[in-house]
Symmetry: C2
């Protein structure tokens, strides 16, 4: 019975939030996230088809925010369709399933590192080096849900994105 423990507990690079911008064994994260996504797809009765799976792999490999057309270029090079809808449909599927996140500010997408954990991601975008970190934001989401509830608004999906300076770029500046 695999994957019943959060990824962060087993991944040194993901254990502490302050390592979000640091190097870590990303290979482990990738294979783990992919395995989790596959298991979740089966459990939910949705199909992680070749295109969808490959898009997720690409996002995991790159480990950065990618535009739909960046993904499409790679898909086309591998014999998949080379028209925009191919990429957009796969990305939409991954987002719907929580396997990937859309970063509106960048018109880009990134693989979710913690699929199935029902987390609330916040994205920290460095305006200098363009690195994007996915920070744990459960308290942020809680506060947002509360604020929305005061207006009677029911949140279904949220985008929490911050633009600023990562530790490295803040240091050199």
């Amino acid at each position: 019975m695999p994957h019943d423990t959060p990824h962060a507990e087993a991944c040194p690079g993901c254990q502490t939030p302050d390592l979000a911008f640091a190097q870590h064994d990303h290979g482990h994260c990738s294979t783990d996230a992919l395995a989790r996504a596959e298991a979740l797809a089966v459990a939910r009765g949705v199909r992680l088809t070749p295109v969808r799976r490959r898009v997720l792999e690409i996002l995991l490999e790159e480990h950065k925010a990618m535009g739909a057309y960046d993904v499409l270029t790679r898909l086309a090079a591998e014999g998949f369709g080379n028209q925009p809808p191919v990429a957009y449909r796969a990305l939409e599927f991954l987002e719907d399933q929580g396997f990937a996140h859309r970063i509106c500010r960048l018109n880009a997408f990134t693989a979710c590192m913690h699929p199935g954990e029902d987390h609330a991601p916040a994205f920290l975008i460095c305006r200098v080096c363009d690195t994007v970190a996915e920070a744990p934001a459960a308290p942020v989401m809680a506060a947002l849900t509360k604020a929305a509830a005061q207006s009677g608004f029911v949140i279904e999906r949220a985008n929490i994105e911050a633009l600023g300076l990562c530790p490295a770029c803040a240091g050199t500046a």
Copy 2:
């Protein structure tokens, strides 16, 4: 000495968060926000030129999220330039000065109702009626700042956007 009290204290419609989706005397909000923006521009030594001012007025009049091209159409009809950069430049200026906000999820912009108050806006977007409410989100921003700080990230600007159902649409569903 005008404008030394927060707008919400004087505007019935803005006093309580739970009225964010309700009707209120928007005329008062508009003129107030415009006057505040003008004062702030003078104080900061930046120029609220005719185009910029008109764009802000348009956003305030419409009181909803508008695409850059929607704004541009209105500008062109009034004798201003009719090319995209005209609108985008004005909108960027307004966003930089905190007179307007960008709603990434909608590729749209909206006037800020509380310019100069250093608030943290969260946008609640109804997926049924497309209404957008600007909810007070100081606690949300505080949580986000804290989460970012744990990674050593310094936030300069944040987008907090939620998609879901507004009270009215949630009721009819």
